[in-house]
């Protein structure tokens, strides 16, 4: 099966450091296989740059199978690019046409400052998790795994919420830079399970407070986050978070 290789023009955001001015650089690339992933195309670009004695484009990536959440490119105005329910590393070049111009930018949001080129600082997500994204149990001394039956629909729904990979596409997409989808996914997962219910109110309050403190915006229910989420995490989780948060506030 012969497939036509692609010749492309890339406009890539280059920024030396957090405090430096950034700008777009234009590169042309020839002979990219449509079966390559987007990041393999970026590898080819970097190989070309290194051979020309230039600095390669710095970008975050690791597992390259859509689960670690590290890759984070804003491609042609969309987080993770034009395909649905994929991360940048799972986006394949067959989604582009020969002769296309592709614009590649970092996540842009107050919560995620740029470190270099396409790499941003997402440590705010870790800080939100540290504020309350857990069940307070120590290692050991826990009951048997089958001691508490959990209705299958609840377990399945918790699993869907838990599938968040923490990539930040929701924040990058949101016009307000809100982290509500991320926070609500964790709050929902744990609120749906009996193990997590015990401290559900405390968790919701602590995580929301930390989110606000770190400069993320408010949610205005545009639904853009859900549409761009590579794992299809649903905004019904945000509704659940709002419920949990209100209940917690009433208890105060």
């Amino acid at each position: 099966m012969e497939v036509q290789n692609l010749d492309l023009t890339l406009k890539v955001w280059r920024q030396k450091g957090p405090k430096e001015q950034g700008h777009f650089e234009t590169y042309s690339l020839k002979g990219i296989s449509p079966n390559s992933s987007f990041l393999e195309m970026m590898d080819v670009l970097n190989e070309q740059l290194i051979n020309e004695g230039k600095e390669p484009v710095a970008f975050d990536h690791d597992c390259r199978e859509g689960i670690c959440g590290m890759c984070s490119m804003y491609i042609n105005g969309e987080a993770h690019g034009p395909d649905d329910h994929v991360t940048t590393c799972q986006l394949h070049m067959r989604k582009f046409k020969n002769g296309d111009t592709i614009t590649v930018e970092p996540w842009r949001s107050a919560g995620f400052p740029v470190i270099k080129d396409l790499i941003v600082d997402r440590s705010a997500y870790d800080k939100i998790m540290q504020a309350g994204g857990f069940v307070s149990v120590n290692t050991g001394g826990v009951p048997d795994g089958n001691a508490i039956p959990i209705p299958k629909p609840d377990a399945d729904e918790a699993m869907d919420a838990a599938s968040c990979i923490g990539c930040g596409a929701c924040v990058a997409t949101c016009k307000n830079g809100s982290a509500m989808l991320f926070v609500s996914a964790k709050v929902s997962q744990l609120a749906l399970l009996p193990q997590g219910k015990v401290e559900a109110a405390r968790r919701a309050k602590a995580m929301v407070a930390k989110m606000d403190e770190l400069g993320f915006g408010n949610c205005t229910n545009t639904g853009a986050c859900e549409a761009q989420c590579p794992k299809g995490v649903s905004i019904t989780n945000i509704a659940r978070l709002n419920r949990e948060f209100l209940c917690a506030k009433f208890q105060d």
Binding site: E40, E47, G69, T139, G145, P149, A155, A162
Partner: protein, 645 residues
């Protein structure tokens, strides 16, 4: 020379771990916060160890090269985690899990370690459930199980096809809780560059801040390496791009023995290579073999027609499909262990029955969909099917998946004793980084089990036993003495790399190393091939140090420098793998020497000569390493040729 004392506790197999815990030394709560523990790596083993030690009250520092501990490659494990719960009432027990693991490892693992692993497996499930890990459940609300290779029971717990993710996020949540409490200090985007030894004991590490390039030293009364495996020495593997063997390798060069490096697992069901720019291989979970059937065309002309695009899989009639695993291994069928399934696929492809570019066989769900319906198949494997379709543009509900073996996991690693302590006192190794539990082949769903067993339930005990004697060791100044010296060495190493200023990129050299490894040190090894491989690796290493090109500066975020540092180590580690494979004149598990096989092509062990752990000691640059042997004593299991027929 350190002696290889595995420190296996006295008593019957069933009592060893209880005896150990009953007699180990403890540290009282007031003293725990005076003791510093360094954990390198934040995957299942690292995160669970750091969290558990933090909960106990030790002062923990945890390091990872990623931007968050949640990114560690444990996250990519798909299929599941084994435990001997026997919830299915299908005859499972701690002993059976132990036995299956020893047998699956082709009788090259230590009995006492494996028994402990099986023993604590049940605690892991309880722990994860308590953390809110959303394991799959049946309609009655109880935990569900599925089957994995090398077992005749259903003992694998799972969370869709994302079990590794959910377990890691569980460990990450426990770790986050401790970071929030201040018992663990987390260092992200920080890479370990070397360990520091003071008066014969490991006392800390030297790191590079990957954003600023700063070289820093950190003190610890004990250091735990939980840095994963070295599969990326093959360039193409299922590992994450950043997964590397450097921490283990630096420890080796400082005196920690490296055990069984030739035991590398080649996973049978990965998406085949598509082209020369391919950067990594994607695994399709072993769980798919529960319901998928593996086959290749029976007729060579059919295989050729498929390769040329003249025929499709669906054009091949039932009687012309060779379900070769079911044919060769009727008792275990598609669920034979990974090494067996991989070799069988290679055998078919080598004989001209492969599809795609000759390097693939089919994994077919037609039969499962007929039997169970599409909905059930989708519920079980939906996300894996979606992943496959995104990568290949083929719909596995309609056409069979194409799969081929790929490098996946390394059973070899840093030699550790029963306490998971290396030959350097105070330096421990956990998870895939150590060699301890899987022998020559790891069974599916056992990596997650081992990582969490080590981190939650072994390290907190054994490290404490070590630390009990360190109460009077004051914290050391990291700006002077040995710390300053190691920092200077690390800086010199980086300067040397930066000053090569050659013409070849790190990736292109890494790719060439991968080709040498796959060709000569891959699935089928021979004496001549291994010797040739060693020669080629040495030549490539020399070329690297003359001609690698690293743009940019060392005092900033520099991805090429990070890669060069790791590849420099792979170029040495690759040679040790080949050397170990050359010396081991037998076939066992993932190590297949073509000279040693049965008439039916099965691995042929030489128990009279090689029933030992081969632990290598570094002797200096360009000096041959020295082999030490830890004899494996099988007191409770009888050595047999593995039979999955």
């Amino acid at each position: 020379m350190a002696t290889l004392d595995s420190k296996i506790p006295e008593g019957h197999l069933f009592e060893k771990w209880s005896n150990y815990k009953a007699h180990q030394k403890l540290v009282n709560p007031a003293n725990k916060r005076k003791l510093d523990v360094i954990v390198v790596g934040s995957g299942l083993a690292g995160a669970s160890a750091a969290a558990s030690l933090g909960e106990l009250g030790f002062n923990v520092k945890c390091f990872c090269y990623q931007d968050s501990p949640r990114r560690a490659h444990s996250i990519a494990a798909q299929g599941g985690i084994n435990a001997a719960k026997n919830y299915q009432n299908d005859g499972d027990s701690v002993y059976r899990l132990f036995y299956d693991t020893i047998k699956g490892g082709d009788y090259r693992a230590r009995e006492a370690n494996v028994y402990r692993l099986a023993e604590v497996s049940n605690n892991i499930i309880d722990q994860c459930v308590a953390q809110g890990v959303p394991f799959a459940r049946d309609y009655g609300g109880l935990l569900a199980n599925r089957s994995f290779g090398g077992a005749q029971v259903s003992r694998t717990f799972y969370a869709k096809g994302q079990t590794g993710q959910q377990l890691l996020l569980g460990a990450y949540s426990a770790l986050s809780r401790q970071i929030g409490k201040g018992t663990v200090k987390m260092y992200t985007r920080t890479e370990m560059m070397d360990i520091v030894i003071v008066d014969g004991k490991c006392r800390g590490i030297v790191t590079r801040n990957l954003i600023t390039g700063e070289i820093e030293a950190h003190f610890g009364h004990a250091v735990i390496l939980a840095t994963g495996g070295y599969g990326n020495v093959f360039f193409l593997s299922t590992n994450a791009m950043g997964s590397n063997g450097s921490a283990a390798w630096k420890a080796y060069k400082k005196g920690a023995y490296f055990a069984n490096p030739c035991y590398v697992q080649i996973h049978p069901t990965c998406i085949p290579v598509h082209g020369e720019f391919q950067s990594k291989l994607t695994l399709m979970s072993e769980s798919l073999r529960n319901d998928g059937r593996i086959w290749a065309p029976k007729k060579e002309e059919d295989a050729q027609a498929i390769r040329e695009g003249k025929k499709k899989a669906s054009d091949i009639p039932e009687e012309d499909r060779d379900f070769y695993l079911e044919r060769r291994y009727p008792a275990f069928g598609n669920l034979v262990p990974r090494d067996v399934a991989s070799r069988a696929a290679k055998e078919r492809c080598d004989h001209g029955f492969g599809v795609e570019n000759g390097g693939a066989v089919f994994l077919d769900f037609k039969y499962a969909i007929e039997r169970l319906g599409k909905d059930v198949v989708e519920a079980r494997y939906g996300n894996l099917f979606q992943m496959y379709e995104k990568i290949t543009n083929d719909n596995p509900y309609e056409t069979p998946m194409k799969i081929y073996p790929a490098i996946h996991y390394t059973m070899g690693g840093i030699w550790v004793d029963y306490e998971l302590q290396t030959t350097i006192p105070g330096l421990f190794a956990a998870g895939e980084a150590n060699f301890s539990d899987h022998g020559a082949n790891r069974l599916g769903a056992s990596a997650l089990m081992q990582g969490l067993a080590d981190g939650y339930f072994v390290i907190p005990y054994t490290v404490q036993n070590y630390l009990a004697d360190e109460l009077h060791t004051p914290r050391m100044d990291t700006n002077s003495g040995e710390f300053a010296k190691v920092k200077a060495d690390v800086q010199a190493h980086i300067d040397e790399l930066m000053n090569i200023k050659g013409t070849e990129s790190v990736d292109s050299i890494h790719k060439r190393l991968g080709h040498i490894m796959w060709e000569h040190v891959g699935m089928g090894r021979t004496k001549e091939g291994l010797q040739e491989g060693i020669k080629q690796i040495q030549e490539l290493r020399a070329e690297f140090w003359k001609n690698v090109r690293i743009p940019g500066n060392a005092n900033e975020l520099n991805v090429e420098l990070e890669k060069a540092n790791r590849v420099a180590d792979f170029l040495e580690l690759g040679e040790l793998i080949a050397r170990d494979a050359l010396h081991r004149e037998e076939s066992c598990g993932g190590h297949f020497r073509e000279e040693y096989q049965t008439e039916e092509g099965e691995a042929l062990r030489q128990d009279d000569k090689f029933a030992y752990v081969g632990a290598w000691e570094y002797k200096g640059k360009d000096v041959e390493p020295e082999l030490h042997k830890e004899e494996l004593k099988f007191e409770f299991v009888e050595l047999k040729q593995r039979n999955y027929k």
